[in-house]
């Protein structure tokens, strides 16, 4: 960039976070925001494929999927949903604190978000551990001997059991979808750890907090994915 002394002087008064290849702070912010939304668009496509696979197989193996879905603990799923919704609120409050220039409040809300993210992952780990104990993890040791939905009302001799291969398909999709979601959570927790450190160092000001805002968008997106995963995997097959 060719800079006359006057131009250099102009830059000197501006936000130090403004990179030289952007004309204005707003342009820089818009560019970062556009990039974030494009990234979220490809995330939608990524998760969309798995949701579609789930739809197809649930349609195909309807009864077996109902049986397998009833193996999940609805309470743990509901608690995790509440935890994630609370973490979304803490992210909103963190961005607000950054906009208002409250450094310690910002660090506090970021740490609160990390804490809630870890609570979610802990509960998820507990659920996974239960699946390992029950041999409900797809693979060589998978075993499944559960009734089809509604069969418990029938006399014992007439009861029908779910096809283990079809139930295994359910658990494959369950682990693929919740596993990818949990991976996104782990990335998010790491991201917020970094942001909390930088915030503590005083890097973010009311003039420059774009990383916080974009990390917030990412976290809300991960929350939305769970908002759909929870009813699809846990809730809709309670009654058959």
């Amino acid at each position: 960039m060719h800079t006359s002394p006057a131009a250099v002087d102009e830059h000197a008064h501006e936000n130090p976070a403004l990179l030289h290849h952007f004309a204005t702070e707003e342009q820089q912010k818009n560019a970062a925001s556009l990039g974030m939304w494009v990234f979220l668009a490809q995330e939608v496509m990524f998760f969309g494929g798995m949701f579609c696979a789930y739809l197809v197989y649930r349609y195909k193996y309807f009864a077996d999927f109902g049986s397998a879905s009833q193996q999940l603990d609805i309470r743990l799923g509901a608690i995790n949903t509440v935890v994630l919704i609370c973490s979304s609120l803490t992210v909103v409050l963190a961005v607000r604190a950054a906009q208002l220039g409250k450094r310690m409040a910002l660090v506090f809300w970021l740490l609160a978000t990390i804490f809630l993210g870890l609570v979610f992952l802990g509960i998820k780990a507990d659920e996974y551990a239960e699946k390992f104990e029950k041999h409900h993890v797809p693979g060589a040791s998978f075993s499944y001997h559960e009734l089809l939905p509604g069969q418990e009302k029938l006399p014992e001799a007439e009861r029908q059991y779910a096809d283990p291969h079809h139930a295994e398909m359910y658990f494959s999709l369950y682990f693929a979808m919740t596993g990818m979601h949990a991976l996104h959570m782990i990335v998010g927790v790491g991201l917020f750890g970094f942001l909390a450190y930088m915030a503590w160092r005083g890097k973010y000001t009311p003039d420059y907090y774009t990383p916080l805002e974009n990390a917030g968008l990412y976290w809300h997106f991960v929350d939305i994915v769970w908002i759909y995963l929870f009813p699809l995997l846990y809730l809709i097959d309670r009654h058959r």
């Binding site: 949701f51 579609c52 919704i85 979304s88 607000r96 908002i227 009813p231 809730l235 809709i236 309670r238």
Partner: protein
Amino acid sequence: MSNHNSASEHISSVGSSVAIWLALLAGTGITVAAAFIDLGPFNTIVALTVATIKATLVVLFFMHVKYTHEKLTGLVVVSARRVFFVYRSKPVIIASVLCCLFVDVILAKLTLYCLWKGRT
């Protein structure tokens, strides 16, 4: 460019954020409660409708899409095309495209699956 309220400039009030948070918690309560009542096929419909309302609240208020342009309210999920031609706010278009993209991916893959199934 300077007169537009970009997404980043909006500072959400604590009160409205808490209100949205309570609405999201209420939505969770409703879906869980509905799951324990036998509504037949409506179990799925109720659960996914509430989920969509919750997702819309998050996109509009927590992701600040509502505040990106004064005219856009509520149109994010309604129609990407209408938004595209009538309201020229970048984040709205992007958010609408996201929704359409999701539906599109699902439909495209379902079509492929049906074609594949038709052959065998």
